[in-house]
């Protein structure tokens, strides 16, 4: 499984400003595969991002807003983007502030189609 997921992640990580991309199990927060640049703590990012995504999904469901398609978290020195495939897999990217979120979002959706 990892062999087929790796190109998906590498394509994402090649985007300008992307520091890391990970495929994570939403329910248990564990990394399935990752492509990390130096200095990223993949396990920690995966567990916390999956937890945030899960809570966002449950909040949207409680508010009867339907499925969450894309989650973006902006922080002082970067941003985290998460998209879910609806099969317990979520793709997490960690990017610089200056990264092109539109491009990342598009690549995330392409990647989701490949892992769905």
């Amino acid at each position: 499984m990892s062999a087929s997921l790796r190109p998906v992640l590498e394509t994402l990580t090649r985007q300008r400003g992307v520091r890391a991309s990970l495929i994570v199990s939403e329910s248990d927060g564990l990394v399935i595969d990752s492509s990390l640049r130096f200095g990223q703590d993949g396990e920690r990012v995966a567990a916390l991002a999956a937890s945030v995504y899960r809570k966002a999904r449950l909040s949207a469901k409680a508010a009867r807003l339907g499925a969450v398609t894309f989650l973006q978290l902006d922080a002082e020195r970067g941003r985290i983007c998460v998209a879910g495939a609806g099969n317990d897999l979520v793709i997490v990217t960690v990017a610089d502030v200056a990264a092109n979120v539109g491009l990342i979002r598009m690549e995330l959706f392409k990647a989701l189609e490949l892992i769905a």
Binding site: D28, G29, L30, V31, E43, R44, A46, A47, L48, A50
Partner: protein, 167 residues
Amino acid sequence: MKIAAVEPWVEAPLKRYVDDARARLALLLHPNGQVLAQAGFTREVDVMTACALASAIHATAGELGRQVEGRAFGGLHYAGPEKQMYLAPLQTSRGAYICFTVFDDETSLGLIRIYFEELGRDLAAAALEAPPVSASVLAGGFEAELNRNLSALFRPRDRWEGRGGSQ
């Protein structure tokens, strides 16, 4: 949330672990099954029985690990339909301990593992600063020691702290 500890130096790290990881329950025990501290919704289990069973599981898993790959297995995770458990050892300058954690879908195994690592670091640091132990837990006065521990752990309401107030 209820928290009680036989030795005060474990209390703060264990409370932080349960709070941060959003665990329902954490029991810290000696590998022989003697409970050292409890935190969380401890009324959900019979603490003494849970400690005895956790100790036995840890010993069994350790021996299985030694049989299979020449060394004891580390953490053990079991996922039930609603609740999950994570059982793993911790090493401090005061010796080895086992932490038995019960959690539900408020959190995840990934988060539990992350905060468990922090618990290990916090306990190791706290162990260095804590006053020395007066006697071995298995010394001749074992029964008196056991009774002292039980009364410390199960003393009435004065050690209860508020988190949701559901206990």
